[in-house]
Subunit: 225 residues, 2 copies
DNA sequence: AGGAGTTTGTGAACGGGAGAACAAAACGGG
DNA sequence: CCCGTTTTGTTCTCCCGTTCACAAACTCCT
């Protein structure tokens, strides 16, 4: 939390960081469509954001556009990728090869965006003979050696909730400093370790809340009582 | 975006709404552990937030605590559940039964939190004989009848990116008003339809950004060049 | 019954992000 | 070479969310 930005110190706002991958994806889409140059307006439309917000976000990285012209798609794409750090591959381990672990291991979006799954681990020995996504499921005991050998700094937790904290502790001890947690539990980790949480049912509950309100007040009109 | 809150108008801030499911889960955990009463401090710790924030969040729902004592776990749990709207079941359809669709269909967290998967749909006919999570995969053509018969208002999209917009359009036309989108694409929907997006690779990219910065400035010290 | 000790609920200050509006800069045409 | 047009980069303002701090209210002990 204490963002030490010693001297070079271009600190990009967290909200902007969260949108950069969206811009990256939009730019990739434009490039595949044959577009070589785009305005902030076009790119913003592709990314589903306001053009003013887009320009402000990009301004934190530097001045990569040309006034009166727009942005060079390929050039900007590279600059954002470099800033995020996805110009090189990030080795990743996935722990917990249940339904969700399967899906994650097979998810092509990781590979194509600079993440390389180097190992799949599960505590259940009966799973250790399985081969998922071209990798054989290994024992959770191998975590330390795998992390050390492959210089892994990112771990994904897809275990049941009860196991998540223990897995996280072990990951941290092994040297992992970024964790993506799919288990529905709150992890406590030491300073310097980043945790991001994805909770499928929470998203649905948020939708349910709004849905419930819709049915109470259908279209801005309320039946006077 | 134009939040019409005509007269009754307890409008709960969006940030608070997003945390209510977390509190709900924390309360369920406490209840299972045998706790009947808890302070805001305890509950905040379980939910991983600040106690002041927790109290302010809860104050939007009403005064359900007792000063000097704390909150009755079961009572507060019910009040939050009622506010979110998960006291009754929400029927849900899932479209796209690939790896992720499989995982979602089997995810027990939906069932246990008031969401009932009523149908699994896929455009690929070769999948229509499969049975996943006790439901047989049906044709996407059946969407309208299923939505109408089961009064479905929430849809989940787990298709490839290219198909997502078409699926969303069809969902909206069928009467669905809340969409949870796992496909990596920006959906455009009419006003009155809520969309929430979950993007697995974006989360990893955000972690990668912070990870990259860590390695540049390991511990507040920077090597002078 | 009264006072000390807790804990909630909320008013107020603070910080950060979103959006509008504008100045700076590049291009193109005459 | 100069001026109008286009589009970026930035400044300013507003609003939402977070946090602090404290008064109100409840319990327990004497």
């Amino acid at each position: 939390m204490t963002a030490r930005t010693p001297d070079s110190a271009r600190d990009i706002p967290e909200a902007t960081v969260a949108r950069l991958p969206v811009y990256l994806r939009a730019l990739t889409g434009l490039a595949e469509g044959g577009t070589t140059t785009c305005s902030s307006e076009e790119l913003a439309a592709s990314a589903g954001v306001n053009s003013a917000k887009l320009r402000k976000d990009l301004s934190y990285l530097g001045s990569y556009g040309t006034r009166g012209v727009g942005y060079d798609v390929e050039y900007l794409r590279y600059q954002i990728a470099r800033e995020i750090g996805v110009t090189h591959d990030w080795p990743v381990v996935i722990v917990g090869i249940g339904n969700l672990g399967h899906a994650l291991a097979n998810y092509s979006g990781f590979r194509s965006r600079g993440f390389r799954v180097v190992a799949l681990l599960d505590a259940d020995p009966s799973r250790h003979d399985e081969v998922v996504a071209g990798l054989d499921v290994r024992s959770f005991e191998d975590l330390e050696s795998i992390v050390a050998e492959n210089d892994v700094s990112i771990g994904v937790i897809a275990t049941p909730a009860v196991a998540a904290q223990a897995v996280a502790d072990r990951m941290v001890a092994a040297g992992i400093t970024s964790i993506l947690n799919f288990a529905p539990s709150v992890l406590s980790v030491p300073d310097g370790v980043d945790v991001r949480k994805v909770d499928l049912s929470i998203e649905l509950q948020i939708l349910a809340y709004h849905e419930q309100r819709k049915s109470v007040a259908p279209a801005g009109e309320v039946s006077a009582t």
